[in-house]
Structures are given as C-alpha cells and as structure tokens.
Symmetry: D2
Subunit: 86 residues, 4 copies
Amino acid sequence: MLNTNWEKVEEADGKSYLIKAFNFKNFIDAFAFMTKVALLAEKMNHHPDWANIYNKVVIKLSTHDEGYTVTAKDLALSEIIDQIKL
Amino acid sequence: MLNTNWEKVEEADGKSYLIKAFNFKNFIDAFAFMTKVALLAEKMNHHPDWANIYNKVVIKLSTHDEGYTVTAKDLALSEIIDQIKL
Amino acid sequence: MLNTNWEKVEEADGKSYLIKAFNFKNFIDAFAFMTKVALLAEKMNHHPDWANIYNKVVIKLSTHDEGYTVTAKDLALSEIIDQIKL
Amino acid sequence: MLNTNWEKVEEADGKSYLIKAFNFKNFIDAFAFMTKVALLAEKMNHHPDWANIYNKVVIKLSTHDEGYTVTAKDLALSEIIDQIKL
C-alpha cells in the first residue's frame, strides 16, 4: 500500500524514500509545522530527513535500519504528517 | 484603544494586564501555537506571561518596564497573536 | 521515593504536585528548554502544568487521572527534565 | 572578513554560501538547537537553508536578494549561531 499524497522515489541502488514538499505563508508557519512534525516523529521514534528554506519544507521518509527503504513506519509517519492542519 | 478580544484586568495596586485563554485539540497543537507566539514575541522583544496545561494556553500581557501596565506594546502583541491561525 | 530536586507540595484537599523553577539567560534559552520538555512529555504522554515569563520557567507535575496526586509518572518526568542540559 | 568556523563554498555560477554541520546527542537536542536558530533568524529577518536527520543539522547561509552570495547578514547570522550553547 502507498500513500499517494507522497511521491515514492526508487534509486538505482535499491534504496527508496517517500518525498513531499510543503509550502507555507512564511517562516513562522513553516517552523510551527516542523515543530508538530518533530513532536510526532519523536513520539513514534521515527525521524524525517528534512530541509527548510523560509516558507518551504521538504520531507523525505525512509527506514535507515531497513537499508534506507520505505517501510510501514514511513507510511505511518507520512499519514500522520498529512493530518497536520495549519 | 482596546483589543476587545482580550479581557483587561485592573488590579488594586494600579497594575493591569490583558488576558486571553486559548483551547486546542491536543498538546501538539497547543505547543505549535506557543512556538508561533514565541517567534513573534522574540522578534518584537516583548514577551508574554503565559501558562499551559495539555491543550490549554493562557496568555497575560503587560509591560514590566512601565509598572506592569498595559501599553501599546501589549496591544500590538495581542493583535498579532489574534492573527495566528492554527 | 521522591526526587528531592523538586519540592513536593501537599494541598489541604488531598491534591499534591511536584514543583521546580528554572532560570535561563534569556527567552530563547528558556523556550528551547521548553521545546525539549515538550518533546519528552509528548513522548511519555504525560504533560506538565507550566508557566513562563521571559527567562523563567516554573513546572508543576501531577497526575490528573489520579486525583491530581504525585505518581510514578510525575517522578519519571521530573527525573527526565533534570537530565536536560542547556 | 570571514567566519572561519564555517566553510565558504563558491560555485561556478557566482553563487556562494557559508556551510557548517552540527552534531548532537539525539533528535531532541538537535531540534532544540534548531528552535534557537529559528528564533534568532526570524528576529534578524534572515533565514537559513538547512537540513536535519536525527542528530545532525547542516546549515547553509546566503543572501537570496543579493544573487545568493555571502553578505554581512550571513556573517552576522553565522556568528550568532556559533554562540548558541547546548
């Protein structure tokens, strides 16, 4: 099963990840979103590979312990992130 | 002028403050709101006197340098906080 | 057992809580500390009753589901908060 | 003048940036550091291009309004970030 709100990228070396870009009004809104994701990720003990510039946040999810592939943990985190309203 | 979305409390000793209570769905939403307020307050160099329990945040605003009275700084911060959407 | 770094307050109505005050250099340091506590508290699903003014943070811990008394959950959270270095 | 604690990268197309990697004990410490940087950056109205995975934070600084080159704003922010203690 896939969360079709996220793009799944499969690399040549067998690694894969889910990726999604988020846009906000400004840095404050972007960082408040990141704070929510941080609280959820720490609670699940599964953390994103993410980047931010001003109002943009790009999140990549994969499971490092499973050879950097997409697992149920990544799907679960992607769905929880999608439920965040800002 | 007053921001009538906030209650103005006047104490016997001449001190006064603006106060408003905010309710959220859960702790994560409450703390993300606090993060936005923190970013705005630090930027204005004017900080709230605030408390949180789980999904509730109570904010009191007064200007300590002006004898703990309500000044234009408090009105400005109250209006900016009111514009935060979550 | 008690965490003697925190004061235990017992109220007339049988309620009790642990309380401790923390002082920082400025608001930024105080709020970064609060962010760490928030991440830990959400992970434990046990949240503080806390207040902040500028560089000061006061944390009260009790278990609402257990009649607002001090339980093992509060001791655990108090010890984890004591381990936070800033 | 340069902040020699940061590497200056000059790209072929004339763009340049300062870059520095930071390592922490865990995600909580990394995110608390990011919260401090966020508060400082918003206050200066100059924001980083940054990425995080678990306990690692990589920060790139350049001034987008000045053709993505390193300006006094980037030096100022780099020096303020270096003063953050965790």
